[in-house]
């Protein structure tokens, strides 16, 4: 996940700042209009502590064979209503002796990812996910659980409050109705990581991207003034070692680190989502949908930016979750099953009738695979959210196929999701830090409770080494070191605007933003 959109130091300074300058003056043009309604049920605590393995009885011998937790009709209700994991619960062992420790742990992380996906996408009103309709508002779409990045990084570096009402761009106010999603069309909304280009669907519309954070993440930013660029750059913040709160579950912590006090807290969670603009020809019943207003870039200084009402279908879903045992965060990536074929399926001509971002009938000589669109990439005012070149549609394939184990787990979860739209989503993989030497020392270290400052590999050997979502890291799929998408390897480079004062020893300066590029959006 990423060469996250939100971007990369050098490029940001040149282009990102320009993007920021082009933002509407929200303080003048926008007013809060939406009262907040608390969700009926918080995401966590209580923490979901389910594991991919059945729990052992208290008197079990250490060599007792382990069994997989069934994912079927017998456990459906329990799994679908088990809630949000605050921390991963993984094991090096499993029932299959042919599996390596890596494969056993990966299965545990993938199980965790599915539980997380289900918890976050369950209805905001507290019902179970099996009650979802395609357009049912999810937990993460509810402002009492998550806030969009641009609602936190306010114009002028103004301090946000969690209780603040939703800010509606002036141009959208006349169309806004309670519960609508509002997306502002800044460059990061349509351009891919490292500004590698937009993704254009088979209806010639831009795919849209958005970033959100939970309250724990928001509170840390708010407490340290990190929403403000001047505050980040101040001498007072120069010694801050940015360390977002880590999730923990008392039950799991007692097993891993019995010497530490613990609590039930989900810690920091950050989401990045991708949307497809649905048009009348699309089958809306196959997507999770939202009724959205897209606030377009200002093209005329004399008038408010136009605001387009669209039905958006969810096509990509990243989750970053920091936990006590994985301070490099856990990186989960889901996407819609109809997005793209795997490259090997293209070669074997084993294709579906249609995809969101691939045309099976188009010759590869004409529709070149995984190529960026022709420039210019910015939306044209007169065309709304349609790409200017009507001949061009992205022809995307998945370069690294899903593993058989992940496909098997996807099938089980999709089966218990029954007739809901959520059966149309699949886990790509979960990236996690595997070098335990990196992660075990946190308990002995001073704040930020990690040894990132001097680690030879601060990403701590990610598994899998590479991970890309076809809608969010479209153009950096593959397995070339540095060039291909790796969530941790990319985000490990993230920094803030912190500066070292001349009188501060370099050893005391630690400009590392804890694996998120969000702080570069401070204003």
């Amino acid at each position: 996940m990423t060469k996250n959109l939100l971007l990369v130091t050098g490029i940001m300074t040149a282009l990102g700042v320009a993007g920021l300058l082009s933002l509407p003056n929200l303080s003048e043009a926008q007013t809060p209009v939406t009262p907040m309604k608390p969700a009926a049920r918080p995401l966590a605590p209580p923490c979901n502590t389910m594991s991919d393995l059945k729990p052992l009885p208290p008197d079990a011998r250490p060599d007792t064979p382990r069994e997989l937790t069934p994912i079927d009709q017998t456990t459906k209700d329990k799994i679908l209503n088990s809630g949000l994991p605050c921390q991963e619960n993984v094991n090096t062992t499993g029932p299959d002796r042919n599996k390596t420790p890596l494969e056993n742990i990966q299965r545990g992380f993938d199980f965790y990812s599915w539980l997380t996906f289900i918890a976050l996408n369950s209805p905001a009103d507290g019902r179970g996910i099996e009650k979802s309709a395609p357009n049912t508002k999810t937990k993460w779409e509810d402002m009492s659980n998550f806030r969009q990045l641009l609602d936190v990084m306010l114009p002028g570096g103004r301090a946000p409050k969690w209780e603040d009402e939703k800010i509606i761009p002036a141009g959208c106010r006349s169309q806004y109705k309670s519960g609508m999603m509002v997306i502002e069309m800044i460059e990061e909304t349509f351009n891919q990581p490292f500004k590698t280009g937009p993704l254009i669907d088979q209806r010639a519309s831009y795919a849209l991207f958005d970033i959100l954070m939970n309250k724990q993440t928001f509170d840390y930013i708010e407490r340290h003034g990190l929403y403000s660029k001047p505050v980040q750059m101040s001498e007072d913040r120069s010694k801050l070692k940015i360390d977002f709160p880590a999730g923990e579950s008392r039950e799991i912590m007692l097993q891993l680190f019995p010497e530490l006090s613990s609590k039930d807290d989900p810690g920091s969670i950050i989401l990045k989502v991708s949307w497809k603009i649905l048009d009348p020809k699309d089958d809306k019943g196959k997507f999770h949908t939202v009724d959205a207003l897209v606030s377009m870039p200002r093209h005329d200084p004399q008038s408010e930016p136009p605001c387009l009402r669209k039905t958006l279908g969810l096509v990509g879903f990243h989750v970053m979750h920091k936990t006590k045992s994985r301070p490099q965060w856990i990186w989960t990536s889901f996407e819609h099953v109809d997005n793209v074929p795997e490259q090997k399926d293209v070669e074997a001509r084993n294709l579906k009738a249609s995809y969101n971002f691939f045309d099976p009938s188009c010759d590869t000589a004409k529709c070149k695979v995984n190529e960026t669109p022709p420039r210019p990439w910015e939306p044209k005012h007169a065309l709304g959210l349609k790409f200017y070149n009507k001949e061009f549609k992205s022809q995307i394939t998945r370069v690294i196929p899903l593993t058989d184990d992940t496909k098997e787990m996807n099938k089980k979860f999709q089966d218990i999701l029954g007739k809901t739209v959520w059966k149309n989503y699949m886990l790509l993989s979960t990236q996690w830090p595997s070098d335990f030497g990196c992660t075990r020392r946190f308990s002995d270290s001073p704040e930020p409770s990690t040894d990132f400052k001097k680690e030879p590999d601060m990403t701590c050997a990610p598994v899998p080494t590479f991970l890309a979502n076809s809608t969010l890291e479209t153009y950096s799929q593959g397995s070339e070191p540095l060039a291909s998408s790796s969530c941790m390897a990319c985000h490990g480079n993230a920094v803030s605007y912190q500066q070292r004062p001349p009188n501060l020893n370099p050893d005391d300066f630690f400009n590392q933003s804890d694996f998120t590029f969000m702080l570069e959006k401070a204003r």
Binding site: N91, T92, I252, D435, P456, A461
Partner: protein, 229 residues
């Protein structure tokens, strides 16, 4: 409930290093000169009985032998060359690379590792003692092949590149005649990690690391090297 991989790791790659040379103390000199270590080792016969060559990266005993041999030749900790959870798995790439090119000599070296590692708390020294070394004139053809392949293996781990053992044997061969095995191998080369650095163009160290003293060699190669050693 979760196992504690953090604790498990301690048994696999203990941080502590032994104090004396016999038990494998590593100095900067010995680490950097893995090939020289092989040259100083005792010469023994390695000519095996004639039979089909068959080592396989998928056979645990063969891979274990390769890792033990590599630890002996490079001086790098087993937990670093072959982590308990090994997503990169460069050892498998290297195993297959060598086996495709030098199957007979490779099998001989793995046989030495198997025969001399058993039951030893630190098999590096017993293995090194049996790897052919010394003057070529005193060695059999098979021993010569094994000697130069051992050097190629050392160079492969340290530089991520393949130096053909037959060319290494030629005294007038260009020292620059090599092939980078793969992009992955380039990023995994150990030479710069020994120097507490990283390969040019590839680093996973924290932004701004260049302003600070590097971490100890322990965190780079799994063993500490006293300053000035």
């Amino acid at each position: 409930m979760s196992d504690s991989p953090h604790q498990e790791r301690r048994t696999i790659a203990p941080d502590a290093t032994d104090d004396d040379e016999k038990s494998g103390r590593v100095t900067r000199r010995t680490v950097l000169a893995g090939a020289a270590a092989t040259a100083a080792a005792t010469v023994v016969a390695v000519d095996p009985p004639a039979r089909a060559h068959s080592v396989d990266a998928n056979l645990p005993e063969d891979m274990t032998a390769f890792v033990q041999l590599s630890v002996a030749l490079t001086g790098i900790d087993k937990g670093k060359l072959s982590p308990f959870v090994d997503p990169v798995d460069i050892k498998r790439d290297y195993f297959n690379w060598v086996n495709e090119r030098e199957p007979a000599a490779f099998e001989n070296l793995l046989r030495i590792a198997k025969e001399n590692a058993g039951g030893q708390p630190d098999p590096a020294q017993p293995i090194l003692a049996k790897v052919p070394a010394g003057d070529d004139a005193t060695l059999t053809p098979s021993e010569i092949e094994a000697k130069y392949l051992a050097r190629s293996i050392v160079l492969m781990w340290y530089l991520g590149a393949w130096y053909d053992p037959h060319k290494l044997r030629m005294s007038d061969a260009s020292p620059f005649d090599f092939k980078v095995i793969s992009p992955k191998a380039y990023t995994q080369a150990w030479a710069l990690r020994v120097a507490q650095a990283h390969p040019m163009g590839f680093s996973e160290m924290q932004f701004g690391y260049w302003t600070r003293e590097p971490d100890t060699p322990l965190h780079f190669i799994g063993k500490d090297i006293p300053r000035g050693a």
